[in-house]
Symmetry: C2
Subunit: 182 residues, 2 copies
């Protein structure tokens, strides 16, 4: 069973607990935001496809809350497909970094452009870093016998160190190009 890239996050999240499309979106924007995103326009069609492929199945609607919410759970075939997908070599998307492209050609704009961009990028990175650290606290505070925590912290630690390194680079760049501006 071949698994589409845009379906993998769904299956992954459904290993946690059964969820609806809306809940999945919230979870993606919460837990996966740092390295993944998915739009409703992609999510709902994918949900239908996964259902048809029997990798997920719909739960019967809750009697108590007669909401029109559709809750899905992962099937055994789904878990199988997910495991297969996880094990295969990850493909890297063609690079497209707008900030770096602008900085690369920034000699056309002068040192001020570099200063402005790196200052702004630094601000955003700081926000990101604070968010990362808050998540880390959260994970560490929940029961440590959660086996998944180890894996989550591993990905987090990459995000934190990359962001810290980026901030450091912003500082250096800022130094170098504000001298030039004077």
């Amino acid at each position: 069973m071949l698994l589409k890239l845009s379906s993998s996050s769904i299956l992954g999240l459904l290993t946690w607990r059964p969820m609806s499309g809306y809940e999945l979106k919230r979870e993606i924007e919460g837990s996966l935001q740092n390295f993944w995103s998915e739009s409703f326009g992609q999510l709902y069609p994918n949900l239908h496809m996964l259902n048809q492929a029997h990798l997920i199945s719909g739960l019967p609607p809750d009697e108590a809350t007669k909401r029109q919410k559709k809750v899905y759970q992962i099937t055994d075939a789904g878990r199988e497909a997910l495991r297969g997908w996880i094990a295969t070599d990850p493909a890297s998307r063609p690079p497209r970094d707008e900030l770096l492209l602008k900085l690369f050609f920034a000699s056309e704009g002068g040192p001020d452009v570099v200063r402005d961009h790196s200052r702004h990028a630094r601000e955003k990175a700081l926000v990101k870093l604070r968010r990362y650290k808050a998540i880390r606290e959260q994970i560490q505070s929940l029961n440590s016998h959660q086996e998944r925590a180890k894996y989550w912290l591993m990905t987090l630690s990459l995000g934190i160190s990359q962001t810290q390194n980026f901030i450091h680079w912003c500082d250096e760049t800022l130094d170098e190009f504000t001298e030039l501006g004077r």
Copy 2:
């Protein structure tokens, strides 16, 4: 004049010297490979659009080599548009990192998957790092009165430190998850 994202690299490169579509592609795969890419299917149509918008103009074909090569140069309006584009705040694309998504859900696959992926990623990062350093040598060895070099080295230094940091993280991860595998 609003500049399309996929056209900006063309204008940027044409500030170096007049080039044909084919040469632009080569230059993108050479100098910009670490943060940018462009396919022919995008490049040639964009070239036509930029030409029609008078941001670039075709050079008369060389008499000596009667090749069917079409060489373009950037116009004043093109330089203007490029400067404007460089100065505007860069947008960041929605994140999509397949490796991190797999590692995040790797508790489904076990420690071996983590080990395999980080080992492989480390290999690729090492190759990248060597390439980065070779480029740095090259830039530093060309005449230092090239004003652009300062900008190029700035973007390079980010690439190098991010890659080094990534390799370091791979080592840590490898350590942690090979212990688990035993």
